[in-house]
Structure formats: C-alpha cells, structure tokens
Symmetry: D2
Subunit: 336 residues, 4 copies
Amino acid sequence: MNQTRIGLIGFGYWGPNLARNLHAIPNCDLSAISDASPARLQKAEGLYRATTFFESGEALIDSDIEAVAIATPAYSHYPLAVAALQADKHVLVEKPLAMTVAEAEELVELAATRERVLMVGHVFEYVPAVRHIKALLDKHAIGETYYLYSTRVNLGRIQTDINALWSIAPHDISIYLYLLGQMPERVSARGAKYLNGQVEDVIFLTLHFPGGIMAHVHASWLDPSKVRRLTVVGSEKMIIYDDLAAEGKVKVYDKGAIRATDPQYGEYQYRLHSGDIAIPKLPLLEPLRMECEDFVRAIQTDSRPQTDGANGLRVVRVLEAAQRSLESDGLPVAVL
Amino acid sequence: MNQTRIGLIGFGYWGPNLARNLHAIPNCDLSAISDASPARLQKAEGLYRATTFFESGEALIDSDIEAVAIATPAYSHYPLAVAALQADKHVLVEKPLAMTVAEAEELVELAATRERVLMVGHVFEYVPAVRHIKALLDKHAIGETYYLYSTRVNLGRIQTDINALWSIAPHDISIYLYLLGQMPERVSARGAKYLNGQVEDVIFLTLHFPGGIMAHVHASWLDPSKVRRLTVVGSEKMIIYDDLAAEGKVKVYDKGAIRATDPQYGEYQYRLHSGDIAIPKLPLLEPLRMECEDFVRAIQTDSRPQTDGANGLRVVRVLEAAQRSLESDGLPVAVL
Amino acid sequence: MNQTRIGLIGFGYWGPNLARNLHAIPNCDLSAISDASPARLQKAEGLYRATTFFESGEALIDSDIEAVAIATPAYSHYPLAVAALQADKHVLVEKPLAMTVAEAEELVELAATRERVLMVGHVFEYVPAVRHIKALLDKHAIGETYYLYSTRVNLGRIQTDINALWSIAPHDISIYLYLLGQMPERVSARGAKYLNGQVEDVIFLTLHFPGGIMAHVHASWLDPSKVRRLTVVGSEKMIIYDDLAAEGKVKVYDKGAIRATDPQYGEYQYRLHSGDIAIPKLPLLEPLRMECEDFVRAIQTDSRPQTDGANGLRVVRVLEAAQRSLESDGLPVAVL
Amino acid sequence: MNQTRIGLIGFGYWGPNLARNLHAIPNCDLSAISDASPARLQKAEGLYRATTFFESGEALIDSDIEAVAIATPAYSHYPLAVAALQADKHVLVEKPLAMTVAEAEELVELAATRERVLMVGHVFEYVPAVRHIKALLDKHAIGETYYLYSTRVNLGRIQTDINALWSIAPHDISIYLYLLGQMPERVSARGAKYLNGQVEDVIFLTLHFPGGIMAHVHASWLDPSKVRRLTVVGSEKMIIYDDLAAEGKVKVYDKGAIRATDPQYGEYQYRLHSGDIAIPKLPLLEPLRMECEDFVRAIQTDSRPQTDGANGLRVVRVLEAAQRSLESDGLPVAVL
C-alpha cells in the first residue's frame, strides 16, 4: 500500500488527536513530529516510537516528508503553511487557515501554483450529525430555512493571543457556510474582554445570508456549562443538534407555523403544527479520522478535499469582517 | 377585612391568570371583568359568578371599582391606563407599560398627579429564583459580574401586531435591570420577520451596562423547544437559572478563572477553578400571586409596588432604544 | 342534553381532581359533594356553589343522585361502594377497588345484580402514552415482548394505613394487565417498613406472565426524585415511557439483539441493532377527563366502561397475591 | 525506581484497559501479554512493542514475571489464578473472583499460604463518587440508612456463558458491601432468559442487610438506554449517584420525612423536608488506574489492597446465594 509520509507540527492541545488519527490510517505514515516544547516532544516520543522528532516546524518541513499537518497557535498557521508549500509539501492547517484574508488568499494561490493540496481542519464538516442536517436541507425537508443559531460555550480553553471569535466561532461559521451553501452578505459582532483586556472572552455574532436567512453564534470560554448546540428553524421542520446529548444528538421536529384565522374569536392568527420527533441513527465515525482520510485521499488522488483552501479562505473572509464589526461596536460589515 | 374592589380588563391569554389570583387574595374583590369577545366573557362568567361583566374596558372603568388590571393587547395599554387614571383608579398594566417612552412618561406623571398606584406586570421580579440571584449579586457572592445572557424561545404565542422584542424581551430586560440595579448605556438589536413580514419573529438584543457588563437576549416564538434560561457569569461564581428544570431551577457553580503561569510549559495561562454546585431550595410561591398582592398592598398602604410605573418606564426606555436599533440594522442606540 | 347527576364522596387529595372534571363534562351534573372534614367541605363549597354538600358519604348516597364517585381512603372503598350499589347508584371507585378479592368480587356481583355501572379509577389506562404503547404491542410492532419494568417513586404521599403496594402499585399493575391483555401466573413481592413500622414504604414486585414475560415494579414514597417511568423490552424494538419528560414522553427505540457469529474472532455472539428513535406526537388529552367521560357514557348508554368492575377485580387479585408474598418474605404466590 | 513486572492474561474487552493503565504506572512494567486469539494478540503487539507476547495464559505464568492480571472469561478466573499463585505470582483477577465460594475460598487460602497478593478488580470501590458516598455514610451524614437500589442496564455486552447476575451485578454487590461495611443476611433473585435460553439476560436481586437495610439491583443487557445509577435513601438525606451524568454524578438531597400531625385536618401524617441539593466536586481520577496502583503498592509494600481476596470472596458468597435463589424461583437464601 502506498503510504503518504506526513509530519505533524505542534503537539499541544489538538496535535495529539491528529497524531492518533494519522497514525491509525493505513495509507498514511506519521513519520515526523515537531514541537518547540521539550516536555511535549517527550510525551510524543513516548507514544510514537518509530517517528522522527524535531524541535521546530521549520526543521520538520525540511525533512523527507510529503505532507505536513499544522496544529500550532493560530498566528503561526500562515508562516508555517507558506514554508511548507514553498517546500512543495501538501498542507493541512488547523482552523483558522490564517489570520487575515490576504494571508489566506496567498496560501490558496501558492497551493495552486505549487499544485499541492491545501486543506483546513474544519472538522465539523465531517461530523455525521452535520452531514445529516446538510442532507435534510439539500432535499428541502424542513421547508424554507428561516434561521439558525448555535451556542458553543464552556469554561476553559482560554486563549490569550486570539479572541473567542477566532478561536471558537470558525467551527460555527464553517458549519453555516456548509449547510447553507453560500456566503453571508454581512455580519456584525459584539463581545467583551473580561480576563486580560486584550481579547474578547465572549462574542455574539450575527450573519445575514441572502434571502433573509439569519444565523447567530454565541461563543465563550467563560461559562458554567459546556454547551455545543445548533438549532435550525425551518418553515415546516426544525432541527436541534446537541453534540453533547447522551442519546440522540440530532432531533428533527415536525413543527412549524402557518397563517390561519382563529375559529373561535375570529382573529387573525397562526396555526401551529407540532408532530412527531425523529432521532436518526447516525454512523459512529470519528470526524477527525474522516478529515485526515480526506487529506490523504486528496494527496494520493490529486483531488480536492472537502475543506480545501478555498473553503478555509471563505471562513477567514467572514472572520475578518466580523472582527472589523467587533472593533466598531457591532456595525454591520459586508463580507466581500 | 378591607377588600379592594378590582376590575379586570381583558380575559384572553393572561387575564384568566390575573383573575384567578385576584380572586384568591383575601383583601381583594375581583368585582368586574370585561372583554370585547362574547366567547371569552362567557368563559369568565362560568368561572366567577359573583362578578359584574362588561363588554368594554371603558364601561368597566366607569363602574364602581377602585382599581383596574389591564391584560389587553399591548397597543391598548396606554389608552386604557390613561382612562383609568383619569377616572382615579389605581392601575396594574401588563407588560409593556406602553409602546413609547412618551406614553409611559405620561402615565407615570398622570399617576403622580392623581395620586394613584401605577404598576406594571413585570412578573419575573417576583419569581423566587430571580430574587435569590438578586440576593447573591447584592452580596457580591459571585465576585465581579461579567456578563448575562438569556434565551426565551418556544413555538407559539405568535403575535401579529407587536414583535418578539416587545412581546417577549420585556421579561428579560426587567430581570436585567432588577439584577444589576442600573440602566444600560446603549443597546443594539437585530431580528428577522419570517411569518407575516410585519413584525420580527426572532430578535437578538445586546445591552451594554456601565462597567463593561454585557447582557444578551435571544427571544423568539419560532423554536422547536421551549427554553427559558438565564446565565450569569461572574469572576468567582456562575449561575444558571432554568425556569423549566424539573429539579433545581437555580444552580450556583463555584467556577471561575484566574491568571496564572503554566508550571509545565512556562506559558502564560489561566487557571480555572471548578468546585461544587449548589442547588438552593426556593420557596414555592406563585410569582403572579405575589405581584397581585403587591398591587393590593400598595393601594391599601398608599405605597409603591416593586414594579411601579417608573420601573415600567425604564423598561420601555430600553425597548424603544432597542426598537430603533432593530430598525437601523443593529446600530448601537444610547438609552437615555 | 341529558345530564347525569353525580355525587362525589371525598374531597381530600384526589377528590378535587374528580370534581373539576365531573364539573366540566357537559352531560354530567356534579350535584353533590361530601367530606367528613369541615375544612375540606368548606374548600369545596368555595369552588362549586351550585352543588349540595353533605358531611358523610352515607348521607350523600341517600340523596337524589344517580351515581357516585368515591375518592376516600382505600379501606372505605368497599363499604361505600356496597352502600351506593344497594341504593341503586352507579359507582366509580378510586383504585384499589377494594382491599380483598372477596370484597371486590362481591362488588362486581352486586353491580351485576343491580344492573349498575361499576367502574374503578385506573386512570393510566386512559393515558394517551399508555394507549399508544398498547397499540404498538397489539400490532406486534416491537417483535416478541420480553419484559417490562416500571419505577414509580417520589418523596411524599406517605400513607399510614395502606402500604406502597396498595397505594402506588395498582397503577403499574393495571398498566401491565392492560398492555399484555392477560393475568400474571404468579407474583412475588418484597418491601420494607421504615417510617411507622406498620406498612411498607417501599416495595419491589415481580409479575410472571404466561410465555415467560416478566414485569417488575419499584414503588416507594421515600425517594429523592420523582420518577414515573416504564420500559418495555421487545425482541425488535424497545419503548421508554417517561411520564415526566418535558418533551417526548414516549420513545420508541429501533433496538434489539440477534444471535450471530463474530466475524473477527469466530466466537458465538449476539449482533445488536440500534437504529432510529421515534418520539410520537400524542394527543393532549387529560386522562382523568377521559375516565370521567367513560363513566358517564357507560351510565347513559348502559354499557361497560374500559376499567369496569371486572378490571378492578383483576388488579385486586394481583394485589392480594402480592400482599401474601410480601408477608412471606417474597415467596412466589399464584394469582388465581 | 523498583518496577514490578506484570503480565496480563486476556486482551479482549477489559484487558486493553488494564494494559493501558499498567503501562502508564511508573513503578510497574507491563512485561508480558497473552491471548489465545491471534487477532487480539496482534492488536496488543501494535500497541505495546517492548512487551513479550504469549498465546496462552499458562505460558505467560511460566515466564519471568512477578505478578499477573487476569482479564479472561469468568470461568477461567479460578484455574488461571490457581496456576499463577502456585507459580508464586501475585494475582489481580477481574470480577468475579471465581464462580463458586469453594473456589474463591481456595484462592484466598492459597494466596495466604504462598504469601502472595490476591486482588479482585472491583473497580467501583475506587470510583471517587462511591468513595464520597462511603465517607458520607461513615459520618452518618444521611441519618439512618434506609435502603439502596441500583440500575445497571444497557443494550450490549451480552454474555452466553454467564448470566447478568455474575456478569453485571458483582459491581453493585461490591458497592453495597463497601458502603454498608457488612454482609447481607439473605438475598433473593429473579430473572429471565430471553436470548439463548441458557443464562438470564435480566435479573432483579434483593439483599437484606442487618438492621432492616434493603438493597436492590436491576441488571440487564437488554435495555434501550444505558443506565448506571445508584440511589441511597436515608432518614435525613438522600443521594443519587448517576455515573453517566454530564455534570454532577453525585447529588446529595437534603430530604427526609418525619412523623407529625397535620395541623389542618388533625390527621396523623408525615412532615417532609426538602431543602438544598449539593453537587460535590469529585477528583478526576481514573478508578482503574487507582486499582492498578493499589495492586502494585500492595505487592511492593507487602500489604493488602482494598479489594483483596477476602473482599472478592465476600462478593462470591453473595453471588452464589443469589444464584441459588435465582434457580429456585426467588426463594430467599441465607448468605453464610
């Protein structure tokens, strides 16, 4: 079997998950790992003995590998990805792809020039629940899509260099873009900095899509409860995706409202329908495994992965507009 | 016992609840009920036989009563309250007190001139869970208050004349003003009209209070699930008030974050604490009963009820600013 | 409309619920109420002004009514029902029908002789969720029925004259007999007396039905949580009925186990299937209202109600056998 | 550091968990693994490269190790443990220790003669939640202990050679013996065989302890939901331990009942108290890690582990009595 030799840069919070999956995929060889922290590198060495280890991403990029996965702090995504592409490596970058649209555009262009795979780790696009909802929307099973909102909060994963918008909301934005298949026209965001005064610990983000579809994100690392929930409201059905539900992560409600006249009082009202709830059985697949497999497949078949560079760029476009809104007290900002 | 003779105007959605409580209070005599709908009036007659019935609020106001409770559609609050005050009746108006600040100010002034009690039905200020949280905040039990957010959604109680801001959010606004004891400096609101194109079915409202405290409201009558939840995030403790929880409506989390240096990697990070959760036993009091008793007590003792006209005016100030923001794509609007 | 004149004996815990429903049914006239307690009688007088009041059930039975509903302590069910039937009244008795099989048989016989309706208040047979499950079982939608178990516990409704078996378990027994359409062959019960040493506060009851179907009941009034849950395990589907669930009281799981050989290790194992979960929309009907309507309909149409005397007798047969088992340290006792 | 060389026999369902923990403990060397299945052995080889592998437990026992952990099917626990002790190895056996009291007694005796550590894997005695409850009971924080009951059901882990009593209930029995610190006087058990007709798929077990304390176990591998819940009912407080709760596995309810006279109706009743609920923060320790550490510590310090052979024997005494009851239609069987 042809094994793609992949190096992993960064063995902090997310890197070990990538390592575990890259290690487990048959047609992939996790041949190198780098981390600037000796303690982290030692931990990696204890787990993956047949692998080569580097103290810097640059050294890893210079080594004899075909592809790199970058799981370092957000600000280093761009320089490391540039270096890797210039060294003709295929690149999987954790979200966000980059910290500016200009950077993200450069990466997409560079990948095209070098004919390398560029992929971003928007892992929720590989989540069976999200794919199930996408299928329902695509076949118009919920009627007209009205609005969506998500809550992604917890106590923890506090960042000091990037705010909750860039740290947490890329998940929700990538889900929205994927589900709706289009870009928002404009966004607005508000937030507040409570801990270090430098970055927002909590943000509220509104996205306005064509056709009046609205989407909202509440992201925070200061919350008593861990919540990861998305609600989709349609004219005929409504969906709740609760990623932490013990049973039934996705619930499809046969619920909606139609205009009608009240028979008793003659008033102009709405008649609600509220029928069965269906909880579909979803495949037990690890999304990150599927993401990694998509990366390897794209490399080996010279094709595009689902969350390719263009996908990552679109999310950065939304993030950058949201950031401008955040800095101007929530003024609506067009997404170009 | 001195019984205050009260008339009730409106026997639709909320009126029957007021009737039941006014009927049950010993020092109160529910002596009149009016409703323009014969069907509703008939229903009231079946329940309260010793009461006089009127086909209009104006006729009821003209009758021999001391006070009126107004539970009619929002746009009629102001004219009915004016008429009642001019007829020297004490007035309890359902929320919102009025549809503009000018109207609300006029009502407050008129009540002062006529020396009548003017009260608004911000019933959540009488909810034991809310009062418990207020007591915690007042004694600084949660440290510094960072931010609050509430979700008040359901499928139903769809309105065609007022939007979700005016129909649902007055509850949350009155809770925030009560808990924080101050007015927001500015607000911004976004929403969307899906059903009849006239009023917003869903709104997202942000309130900015002095000292950087932020509060957020998500209100909607288009949702698969009924949710009534408020979260208060403090520097040392955090609180969730879930009005629909089967056991433990209020949970007080001993949770917070402080700045610290990571001992292993030497990085600058936050140390989280996460201790016990306390679920206080709350008194089993019906909030509407307490609200009605406060109205009768204010009348009989010539004092102010907790949710007096000034209280109602403050909420209308916030609503009017939020409405302006809603109409200008979410621009921040100062609350005067 | 023909209105059946019904008298209610007992206005304690359950009587007010019966009164409210009998009062609301159009072809029924709640014409009399009795209770030995002046305080309770006064409460009833405040609610039902057009009704005649009596200080004893005997006096009410002697009055000009056609039927009685008996909601008194369990030990008085039999003497009151006998007196009412002998006075040619139709009788609705709260569960249990009587405290011995002999008494229950006498009541059934007496009702037949006098040609009166005899009904027992097994209200769960009128619960939409239970009827839905019954329909699923009747059409063999869950495959073979393996076993059922229910938990009915709470803190409260502590009895001092009858134990948890006679106070709580009649609900579960009537549900099991209704769902399975047959009598258990034998039962065994265990319990313990913690509070007054006279009656069991907690019981565990096992029922063995023909064909190896087993059913279990855990009933207690000493529990930290209120639980009312029934699980039905079939070979192809499984059902949970949680009466206190906020949304989805009935969940139908497409789950089961079949024998198969493990393809990897060659061992003899079971292959499980675990598919969708369906939450059916159930009609919003008050079961007690339906029970009362069934009583009135049986009287007016000279027919049998669903939970007729024979139904009540069957449950008492099970209870008496279970009581004998309880008194003999759980020895299995045949149900005759 | 002195590293105890331990061999693991059995790499099926539970063995990999033992391997992971034995591998992670610093003063322990997982030096050998055996499994009769080549596929399983290959899986182990992929994970633990520095380890020696054997195709049989006997061969492993003959090798140069100091201790063995036995995670094989229940019927092989005894012969393998005997062989290991006779070879002067320390032994950790998964639950149940053996399939008869005679076998278990022989193992305890043999371990004493050979002066080896004999331990059984009653892992729940190392669970922080269980230890927290034990501490509450030991300091009489819940008043008098009335009764306990547990539900341990799921769809899966279906066994064909041992029934649900021997497969599942050892957990609950070991928890009860640990919490109450004494043996039950007698037990009774009922169950049913639905799948292969050889072993009970579901059992209901009652344990009667001195002083009237009752404990109940419902164990089944045929259930739509995974439930692992224990309730402890005391005279002053009550506890629920829900092992699957997302937040708050242990809830301590300030609830109870005392005898009192009803002030309104003069009847003899109980007065309930229902106060706060406390959810203690529990340490985030992996119980199996603590169990393995206890084994290594016992070996290295020549001391007894918490769940020693005598502990395992006590549980087998209860199981054997319960099995006899199960085979005699639930007759109560004394525990000797």
